[in-house]
């Protein structure tokens, strides 16, 4: 579980969070959305101690995040940054994926197997010996994701981690994430602007100017479509289309996902 209590944080010029509270339940797959500059990336940096709050508390698995135990906390949390370039430490793709494992003292034999597994799983075969900086945008993101998945941390933060993947790659990634979420062992926080990706989450949190505007199941949040549209957010395709079709009594109910919409059309 992650508990954020009365958090206050600002960069030199202005406060991003002023008395901010949010809890992530253990095993939950949470999608975090919100306008540009609403504080999503700042929050994820605070959770791994890359930025330090001026006030309030962060508790992860019952341990309070402090300057002394930031290393312990970081081992519990895997993160993929919004810009993968900020993440790379290894000279080659394989080294980079191995880095987090080395840091966690994973035995060498085990490490080799894990690196190999995630290179294959993330479709990076053939890129092992290349510099992560000499890859295409999507290849960089795949490398960053592979590194975070390989360490298998209890908490995983994905900050727009799939934003540059091709449609097939994005689908595969969402399947991996859904799979990871099924056994309820890992807490996943996924930041995204793609609304079709959030419908599978257990919980959807909408940030607005450093505050939680809405929080609940995706279904409950998208039912309040007017409030979302008022702050410039959109609705997933299935919600948009089913709303219109329902109002014209062509289908019997509103739908959240494309699968539900297809079912409704078949009824």
């Amino acid at each position: 579980m992650i508990e954020i209590k009365n958090l206050t944080f600002g960069y030199e010029d202005k406060l991003v969070f002023d008395g901010f509270d949010l809890t992530f339940q253990k095993g939950d797959f949470v999608a975090l959305i919100g306008h540009n500059g609403s504080g999503k990336s700042t929050l994820s940096k605070l959770l791994v101690g890359l930025e330090v709050a001026q006030g309030g508390e962060i508790w992860i698995d019952g341990i309070q995040l402090t300057a002394e135990n930031v290393d312990v906390i970081r081992k519990k949390v895997g993160i993929v940054f919004q810009n993968p370039d900020n993440q790379f430490v290894g000279a080659t793709v394989a080294d980079d994926i191995a880095f987090g494992l080395e840091n966690r003292q994973v035995p060498r034999a085990e490490m080799v197997v894990l690196v190999d597994k995630y290179i294959k799983q993330m479709g990076l075969a053939g890129c092992e010996e290349r510099s992560p900086h000499h890859l295409s945008g999507g290849q960089k993101q795949r490398t960053a994701i592979a590194g975070a998945l390989a360490v298998g941390a209890d908490f995983l933060i994905l900050d727009e981690a799939t934003s540059m993947l091709d449609p097939t790659g994005r689908r595969e990634m969402m399947q991996h994430i859904r799979q990871l979420a099924t056994d309820k062992q890992r807490t996943i926080i996924m930041i995204t602007h793609h609304l079709d990706e959030v419908v599978d989450a257990d919980r959807l949190v909408v940030l607005h100017a450093g505050k939680v505007l809405k929080s609940g199941t995706p279904r409950a949040v998208f039912e309040q479509s007017d409030a979302l549209e008022a702050v410039g957010l959109e609705l997933p395709f299935a919600v948009q289309a089913s709303k219109q079709l329902y109002e014209q009594s062509i289908i019997p109910h509103l739908c959240l996902t494309n699968e539900e919409l297809i079912q409704a059309l078949w009824m």
Partner: protein
């Protein structure tokens, strides 16, 4: 023709052990007042190709013609020509961080017009206008462009190119990281620019954007041009689209799954509603929803 690539091939790190050939004999051309989308799988060569169009990368083989000049493989292009090309062909990089370098946001957006010989006042006016168009708050003007959120950085990078007012605008995944409101605003600007007579080239993985905005689509696959045509034509080539690691726009994908591949595919929400309504007699009979009717109709 405004932009033309003839037999363009490119190899990274030529004549080194890291040598990698990534573009193979690319041919295409586009004219003024056009909106072209480039789509293709991860690593298919889209960014590499775009970087050829403003002289950032020089073709290993082939010829690139753009407003401002011609670049020919193996022939040294003069610094003057490259400079002229860069003023007429604006490129927004896939990673905005690669583009930002000034100490303030406003200074960064002003760089292009100043470099093109505009006065301080003219450059500032152009920069303020561009910032407003993409939704950059004045409160951010004096900040370092590196102390911004991801979406704010993207906006600054786009504003910098808009302020230059080039003839050809190339945007490499410009909607990545933008919130829905920012995406909408950007697309509105692009449409307006295209109507003004500019040529737009947008690299994207957003098939809904392609469906709703492109006039012309170029599909890249493993460094080659796989397919080219209108969105309706390109998205009707199911096998090739799948081969290229792509997918149908959401409306078309849902429609196909519900009703099978039958007739013209809806590409937008509005088309989708229209097509579904056309099927309505099948779906709803005498006010009662009937299970399986449509499925049966599709199987026939």
């Amino acid at each position: 023709m405004d932009v033309k690539c003839e037999h363009v091939s490119y190899t990274y790190h030529l004549k080194t052990p890291m040598e990698q050939r990534v573009l193979h004999d690319i041919n295409f051309s586009l004219s003024q007042r056009s909106f072209t989308c480039i789509i293709g799988h991860t690593g298919s060569g889209k960014s590499t190709l775009m970087e050829h169009l403003n002289g950032l990368l020089l073709p290993t083989v082939g010829k690139v013609t753009v407003p401002g000049g011609t670049i020919l493989a193996g022939v040294k292009t003069s610094v003057k020509t490259i400079k002229k090309i860069r003023q007429q062909v604006g490129l927004v990089f896939q990673f905005p961080e690669h583009q930002l370098f000034e100490t303030t946001v406003l200074g960064d957006i002003m760089f292009g017009p100043k470099n093109a010989g505009k006065s301080q006042a003219e450059a500032e006016a152009a920069a303020r206008m561009a910032a407003k168009i993409v939704g950059i708050d004045e409160a951010l003007f004096e900040k370092s462009p590196f102390d911004l959120s991801g979406g704010q950085m993207r906006r600054v990078a786009i504003a910098g190119v808009l302020a230059m007012d080039p003839e050809v605008l190339i945007l490499d995944e410009p909607t990545v990281g933008l919130d829905p409101k920012g995406r909408k605003a950007l697309l509105k600007v692009l449409v307006a620019l295209q109507k003004e007579g500019k040529a737009l080239l947008v690299v994207t993985h957003d098939m809904d954007l392609v469906a709703t905005h492109a006039h012309h689509v170029l599909v890249m696959c493993q460094g080659k041009k796989l397919l080219e045509g209108t969105p309706a034509y390109v998205f009707s080539q199911h096998e090739l689209i799948a081969q290229a690691g792509l997918y149908l726009p959401t409306a078309a994908a849902v429609y196909t799954q519900a009703f099978g591949r039958d007739g013209a595919l809806p590409l937008t929400v509005a088309d989708f509603i229209k097509e579904v309504k056309a099927k309505r007699p099948l779906i709803k009979e005498e006010g009662k929803f009937q299970k399986g009717k449509v499925q049966e109709a599709c199987l026939k």
